[in-house]
């Protein structure tokens, strides 16, 4: 079996310290980010109506006609933090197309999230929505973080991914472009 050197405990220790720059906590001990999306038979997406960091309401139903990537995450979740920049790169790659990214944070407030995003080298341009009491995650039957869904133009879940991903991997982009073409 091939084993990789890990820095898990160091990463975890850094995550515990408020005020420590986030970026230093990211790289360490995580299994490699994969790039698979698991296709599934289309089924209607549950409701998703949440406010963003500025209190602006978002409703998934209003995004019909677009392919939407919905990522459930939290700042204390190491794989979530690690995959976030690749989600921004994906968003930039598909800018101008009928595609949106929504990142849904569980259980945290805007200050905590902005502390994290402010320490990234990447500026996140997609909306971050607040699921403060984790009700939306439960409605979407999310069992662990991060979990990501791909919703087609008809508002149906057509693919999902559990665990950290490299979202701007060519295979991911190809899958999304296929949906955009339908």
């Amino acid at each position: 079996m091939k084993m990789r050197n890990r820095l898990a405990s160091m990463a975890f220790a850094v995550l515990c310290l408020p005020g420590v720059p986030v970026a230093t906590a990211i790289a360490a001990d995580l299994p490699p980010l994969s790039h698979s999306l698991t296709r599934q038979a289309p089924k209607p997406a549950p409701a998703l109506k949440l406010k963003d960091l500025d209190g602006q309401p978002y409703d998934l139903a209003q995004l019909k006609g677009k392919v939407v990537l919905i990522n459930f995450w939290a700042t204390w979740c190491p794989p979530c933090r690690r995959e976030m920049p690749s989600m921004e790169r994906l968003s930039q790659t598909l800018k101008g197309e009928a595609f949106s990214v929504l990142a849904v944070d569980v259980g945290e407030n805007a200050d905590t999230i902005e502390t994290f995003t402010g320490q990234l080298d990447t500026t996140l341009t997609f909306p971050i929505l607040l699921d403060t009491r984790s009700r939306t995650m439960q409605a979407w039957k999310v069992a662990g973080l991060p979990t990501t869904f791909l919703v087609d133009k008809q508002g149906r879940i057509v693919a999902s991914a559990i665990g950290g991903r490299e979202f701007d991997h060519p295979e991911m982009i190809r899958t999304i472009r296929e949906l955009l073409g339908k």
């Binding site: 079996m1 050197n5 405990s9 160091m10 220790a13 408020p18 970026a23 569980v106 259980g107 665990g163």
Partner: protein, 187 residues
């Protein structure tokens, strides 16, 4: 995003126990046990009591409540589908066996929730706790994985074997991590 310099802080070794590989982070002294069998990878990495206290106090636990969790033997746990077929597990089916003692179930999130409510832990902190644990049940497609905490009632420095169970291809499978050791108080 910047990355930590990937200096080789961990030293892996092929363990003498069949299927279980171990490593030690030479900087922190914390150890990892990992096995990979029939499409599943399971890995436990020690979390020190100070790390557990710090993590939960930073998320709204009182020092007393955080201490309750830190008193357990806590591990960062990774479960990953490294095969070609979907796999499914229920944490309730897993057992750990401290040396010389009968198998025990891992304390569930629901059981912890009752403890935290009794201790007056705020809802936001309880939500963070629940999502920071490894999922109670999960189905992984190839490539899927989770990382979360599990806790074991084992004395500091004590060893146990973790027997994990999962289903794939309509069959139940099992594997084990042997001689996993609870970290010392001052790790």
């Amino acid at each position: 995003m910047r990355r930590l310099p990937l200096t080789l802080l961990a030293m892996w070794s092929a363990a003498s126990l069949a299927g279980t590989e171990t490593s030690m982070d030479t900087e922190t002294g914390l150890a990892t046990w990992q096995t990979e069998t029939a499409g599943i990878q399971v890995r436990l990495t020690q979390i020190s009591p100070d790390q557990a206290r710090g993590f939960y106090q930073a998320r709204g636990f009182s020092p007393e409540a955080a201490e309750r969790y830190a008193a357990e033997c806590v591990f960062m746990t990774v479960v990953r589908n490294v095969g070609d077929a979907p796999i499914r597990y229920r944490l309730a089916d897993w057992r750990y066996e401290p040396a010389g003692q009968p198998p025990r179930a891992i304390r569930s999130k629901a059981q912890w929730e009752r403890i935290w409510k009794r201790q007056g832990v705020p809802e936001s902190a309880r939500i963070a706790f629940a999502w920071a644990q490894i999922p109670a049940t999960q189905t992984y497609a190839p490539g899927d994985w989770n990382q979360g905490m599990t806790s074991y009632s084992v004395p500091r420095g004590g060893a146990f074997t973790l027997r994990f169970v999962w289903r794939a291809d309509g069959k139940q499978h099992s594997g084990k991590l042997e001689q996993v050791r609870c970290t010392d108080e001052n790790a």
